[in-house]
Amino acid sequence: MATTDKMSKNTSPTHWEGEIPVNYIYTYGLAGEAFFRAVKDKGTFLGARCDACDITFVPPKIYCDRCFEELKKFIDVGTVGYVDTFTVSFKNMDGSDKTRPRILAMIKIEGTDGGIIHYLEGIGIEEVALGLPVQAIFKPKNQRKGGIEDILGFGPLKR
């Protein structure tokens, strides 16, 4: 309805194929630059503290998104945390099957209000539980480029 002439043969429909041909290079921003320099050079994580709101951002921000004050000082928050939540992922972003299912987890970094989303490594599905303490595993320093891929995942905490 609404228009008068319609397709009446199922051989008629046609479509036009195309794409949006764009490429991107993203800077990490002021906070992201500091965070990933610390990952790359020191193998540790930085957070940003807002005393007024009593909140520690990981990853850090140059502003507190609650009160909007500038956060000038980044602090080393270490690489130890615990599983805040997790999922067993079978698919890649493009919908294809992973070669093996992987445990993706939100790791809350100890003593902060944030953390890192990354894979659990060396922990079986039956061992995972909310609250499980874990520790970041980094690539060897000479292979780190400054990016989330510098982190291989999180493994069991070695005290």
Binding site: M1, A2, M7, Y28, G29, T87, F90, M106
Partner: protein, 383 residues
């Protein structure tokens, strides 16, 4: 001063998994023409126009360019809201409340079938530095949230599966719905694992279709129709986009949006006042999580209400009698449009086989999907 805003006309194409026989323009024209005929108004008489759309879902760099013709908005005050239809509805409401517009038409549509890889497109919304390089399926974000929600509320995956069973069964009564089915909770649990605890059937499949609604100020509304459907409450809210700083168990965006809408509508006791609701069930657990955020259930109580039949078609607060996104299809920016359509048809008593008897106040709620923490709520009444 404008005191009230009502919906005076609505039109839709219905929803199908694919729509190869019509272009997006032809599809939207059909919904618009029906809405204007329903309202008894021509687009030349309408004060303003809004389309709810996102560029990359349309496949254009500036999709706003292509919004006017098929809704009759040439040389008219027209804008795109890159957001859900209910956010566009809020803009339309505010436009009329300024006093500068008597009528506003709002359009939303989905041509999701035209996007070759919709999962990858959803992944393109991830933070490019912290999240996207993992090339993880966007459904994994829902998987993370589902685990935490189930933990905090002692809800099981089997209970979430019952949402799918209910909604797909409801959709069997809805001629607009694309994914009605009679299935069991075991069928859901046995479907392919995507990002456990999420299975394939826990995830709403996408559909195509268009909806157009016409809003009018109170005086104009009563001149146009005997039964305007009044906008009593609106709320919209965005929680942090930073996944790492998110409160994973609670849908705070839905709670805060609902609080805003309830306050505006003067509703102190939502579970007692709301007759029925269409709420976001893009993933099965989302219906339960959202019920609690909307205060239609206490924390941890949603699954029990579902199991005891309170939210079924014949229950006290029917939820997603249309079939929801699980039964109708996920419509992206038109998700809220489908829910408003259902509210209007129910409140007018035009819902046919799925008509709930004696309803006066309905609630529609949407979430913008992974990875957002944005949602909106609308409360409509026929009184």
């Amino acid at each position: 001063m404008v005191k009230r805003v009502g919906i005076v006309g609505i039109g839709t194409t219905g929803f199908r998994p694919i729509t190869p026989d019509v272009s997006y323009r032809e599809m939207i024209f059909e919904a618009a023409r029906k809405a204007y005929t329903d309202a008894g108004i021509e687009p030349s008489e309408i004060g303003g126009f809004i389309t709810a759309a996102e560029d990359f879902l349309e496949g254009y760099s500036i999709c706003d360019e292509y919004c006017p013709d098929q809704i009759g908005a040439v040389l008219k005050p027209t804008q795109t809201i890159p957001g859900d239809f209910i956010q566009a509805l809020a803009t339309g409401y505010m436009m009329i409340m300024t006093g500068a517009f008597k009528t506003v038409a709002i359009e939303a549509h989905s041509k999701a079938s035209n996007v070759k890889n919709i999962d990858e497109l959803m992944g393109f919304a991830f933070d490019p530095v912290y999240n996207r390089p993992l090339r993880e399926t966007p459904h994994a974000i829902a998987g993370l949230e589902m685990t935490r929600y189930m933990f905090e509320t002692c809800t099981s995956a089997e209970q979430c599966a019952k949402v799918v069973v209910k909604n797909k069964a409801n959709a069997m009564r809805n001629p607009y719905a694309a994914f009605g089915a009679e299935i069991s909770e075991r069928d859901v649990m046995n479907s392919d694992p995507i990002s456990l605890p999420l299975h394939r059937l826990d995830i709403a499949p996408h559909a195509d279709g268009a909806v157009v609604a016409v809003l009018a100020d109170g005086e104009t509304a009563l001149a146009l129709t005997d039964m305007p459907i009044w906008i009593e409450g609106l709320g919209w809210c965005t929680d942090t986009p930073t996944l790492e700083m998110r409160d994973w168990g609670e849908a705070a965006y839905a709670r805060i949006a609902a609080e805003m809408a309830y306050k505006m509508a003067g509703i102190a006791n939502p579970a007692g006042m709301i007759d029925f609701a269409e709420i976001c069930d893009e993933y099965s657990y989302k219906e339960l999580q959202h019920m609690e955020a909307l205060k239609l259930a206490r924390p941890g109580e949603a699954a029990h209400l579902l199991e005891s039949g309170v939210t079924s078609f014949a229950g006290d607060i029917p939820i997603n009698v249309s079939g929801g996104a699980l039964g109708v299809g996920h419509l992206f920016e038109a998700s809220g449009a489908h829910k408003i359509l259902e509210l209007v048809e129910q409140l007018r008593g035009e819902a046919g086989a799925r008509q709930i008897p004696d309803v006066n106040i309905g609630l529609a709620q949407v979430w913008r999907g992974v990875p957002t923490a944005t949602g909106a709520v609308a409360i409509l009444s026929n009184m």
